[in-house]
Amino acid sequence: MMKGGYTGKILRVNLTTKTIGTIDTAKYEEFGGGHGIGSAVFFDLVGDQLPFDAFDPRNCIIMMASPFSGTFMPGSGRCEVQGLGPMLYPIEWFGHSNFGGRFTAQLKFAGWDGIVVEGASDEPVWINIVNDKVKIESANGIWGMDTWDTQEEISRRVVPDLKYGEWAELAENCFTTQIPAVVCCGPAGENKSRLGALLHGPGSQAALCGFGGVFGSKKLKAISAIGTSDVPIADPKAFMDARLWYRRFQWDVDNPREAERFGTGGPYALISGRPSGGNTLNRDIPLTPARAAACASCPRGCRMRLATSDSNESVCGGTMTITVQGSTKFTRQGNDLMQKYGLGHWQLIPLMGYVQTLYRKGILGKGKQIDTDLPLDRNGTFGYADTLMRQIALREGIGNDLSEACARFAEKIGRYEEDVNSGELSLAYYGTANHYDPVIEAEWGFGSLLGERDLMLHMMSNYPIHWMAWSGDPYLTAEETAKLYTDAMEPYQGDPFMVDHSDGPTGIYSDSKVKQVAWIKHYEKFWVGAGGFCGWRWPMCITNNTADRRGPTPRAEEKFWNAVTGNNLTFADYMEIGHKIYTLDRSIWVLQGRHRDMEVYPDYIYDRPTRGHDMTMYIDGKWKYDTGAGRKLDRAKVEDFKTRFYKFEGYNHENGYPTRATLEKMNLGKVAAALEKKGRLG
């Protein structure tokens, strides 16, 4: 019996049959919530039918909340989206993406732990959730709108007499002052672009995997949720005490102490949770008046809302994809245009770069081998950005091919092997872009390679260390960092070499690194995935907000989860559930065709000497910050690392398939049966 955190039911909508049903959450409680339950539901519904295409009506879009959604658990406002991802390459892997804001909070207040969308409609529709009332509505008049107009129009349709700043009575005794939370695809998604993102609010974007395109393939424009009911908490007093205890780890806005010493403009401040810094487009003098803007329950508020309202709630890639030379204002509006089209920024960045590369090489342009009327000589102008994005979103001209995303576009023009292996097209992981240097910050690379797309988990070890070292004035020595960081990494704590980024015997190919990568995958699957944590907030193993520099990890996770759910497990217990979820995900990939031979980097990552970056390294018996410049990745050592990783996780090292023993130990016997049926049991 679930005590707290869950509402008890998952919404199940079939767009082909236009039926609405429920799934009992309790049936999946062993998977925690969020990503864990999403994977288990996906396997149960369509696992035996794999493989099939992402735009096949059998593909499910699963949007899960977590037990923390709708609560004040710090940094837990994400919505996990899962399904086959049309952006991913060469196989449209079972993927995940997530977005912030307040969608999952409203979903929980409406009484739902998640949504499963199956089938495909023959006419454009949207799903209207008001508490337990769920309707499949016609999207007439909405289909074709950009993501911002869509949200405004749907809010109007959900609460016709909504007056901002007043209470609305949604039904007898059901009052709210809140605006419906809407997530939708834009024109890009409608046209089944593999860059299609999901947008919620002006800038909260599920950018990876192309789930906007899956919405479009189902003729699903949007989902709206608003609710007025309770999210139960198993131990309210313990939960309140935990929240008050957590304050010591926050950036103190009235007195940030030494955190402020390092400046407030750089990404270094992200480590300590500085409010508002995620929007990079409000740094010109005079500053535009603005506030820090938070997702539901986030004590940080990394976003901004501006007096001009442009770039509201966009961060990082949402503010850095489009650059209009000489104008911050047009740059903000250019990025907003990307949000309105519903284009995924983390795919648009390498795609735009690749288009310019081909143009400079004389391959792409007017009258060239790849003929296009794009005004390519006007790169850096608003007009160019608008034209390019419109063509992609609407599949006009060259945009029809570009809309297939980087990898498939390169394949179509016959340049994939050459350009990806040379690094001219800087993809690294299954069609997603290279990010942090896998040659130095190996855990990022391995964590991505052994997943299904770029890791995109910024608070994992490389990131706080990367930016602390980058500051030139790190508040911890390399030795202190290694010790403190790995002290928090239960159940593998006490091995500082997990964050040794040298290529020596204890470095990036070592057994210590195997443990670190396993820790990252397990944390990713349970705390970030099942718990709905923000990757810009969790884990927090070190911080300069506390005197002893220790962050809330691992104490906070366990403390909060148990208070909310009424469970009584340890951090290590939950990490083992993360291991189980990762094994389930891996099994689904194997059903789709994954083999260890596919888990390799493009050639350029092995062969190109790296420029390096300051990271913690153990060299000649001493810890130091060093760049590793000039290093190349050794193919044989990478393969040996993989072999030890598979063994460590309980998979067959020859093919990377999970074994029967591992699956049965995890109560995943039916998964073993499915793999065996395909001849792919490890």
Partner: protein, 260 residues
């Protein structure tokens, strides 16, 4: 853009609230109040209000706030709901944060805690005395939901928009409630009320809510919506139209730090 239209709505609502409050407080007669009740349909039979007091002892506590500092995380709302009811529910919160993600700063957020009014119209007009001034606890204006008969008079009469009386479902029945400055928090191990702690104040990560013992100036919003920011806030690069723009580089002024 959507924000423009909604911000416009908000502005007109504020103006509407001002005139309504002016009418109630300035007029202050039972007849005027009755006329308003009659003009809106009630969910339950509305007995005649008891003879209304003309003056009330001032509350010994108030919540002031800084709507330009608020980040809209709603932690205050969920804290309020948790300590009073043991659950998480924005609709049960006695402080409401209303926001439009598409809106323009500062009109994108409206903070709406109870004002502990000098002349508490909810108390003045409750037909059964469920709304009362708690003279044993700092004169806090409270509602005893167990006595509420569900007539919704206090919802309609509250001069603020949104009304600061909050409709909650208790044992299947709709009841009114309101901020009690955390006097009655069965799910929190802290003493509340004047002299105690308030959940929203304690958990707000932006320190945008503050308890004060002196009655704020009784204007529409100015007395309550105050500046709680200091120079450290400017160091974040967050300015409003009334503040001096700080120099924006990585060599910020270092202000004296405190102890851990």
């Amino acid at each position: 853009m959507p924000g423009d239209k909604k911000a416009g709505n908000k502005e007109s609502n504020v103006k509407k609230g001002l005139s309504r409050r002016d009418f109630l407080v300035a007029g202050g007669t039972v007849a005027a109040v009755d006329a308003l009740i009659a003009s809106t349909p009630a969910k339950a039979a509305t007995p005649s209000p008891p003879a209304a007091a003309t003056t009330y002892p001032a509350s010994e506590g108030y919540l002031v706030y800084d709507s330009k500092k608020c980040a809209g995380c709603t932690t205050c709302m969920l804290s309020c709901s948790l300590v009073h009811y043991g659950v998480q529910n924005l609709s049960r919160s006695r402080i409401q944060i209303i926001q439009d993600s598409f809106g323009k700063f500062p009109n994108d957020i409206q903070m709406a805690p109870c004002r502990q009014c000098k002349t508490p119209v909810c108390v003045q007009n409750c037909p059964v005395g469920a709304a009362f001034v708690d003279t044993e606890n700092g004169n806090v204006r409270r509602i005893d939901s167990s006595k509420c008969i569900g007539c919704r008079t206090c919802l309609k009469m509250c001069p603020q928009q949104p009304h600061r009386t909050v409709w909650v479902v208790i044992d299947g029945k709709g009841k009114s409630s309101k901020c009690d400055l955390c006097l009655d928090t069965p799910y929190w191990n802290e003493k509340g009320g004047p002299g105690g702690k308030q959940a929203c104040v304690e958990t707000c990560p932006m320190k945008a809510i503050k308890f004060v013992a002196v009655m704020p100036e009784q204007k529409e919003t100015e007395g309550y919506d105050v500046n709680l920011r200091n120079d450290h806030w400017l160091n974040l690069g967050l300015v409003d139209n009334s503040t001096v723009v700080p120099k924006m580089d990585l060599t910020w002024r270092i202000l004296p730090g405190g102890e851990e």
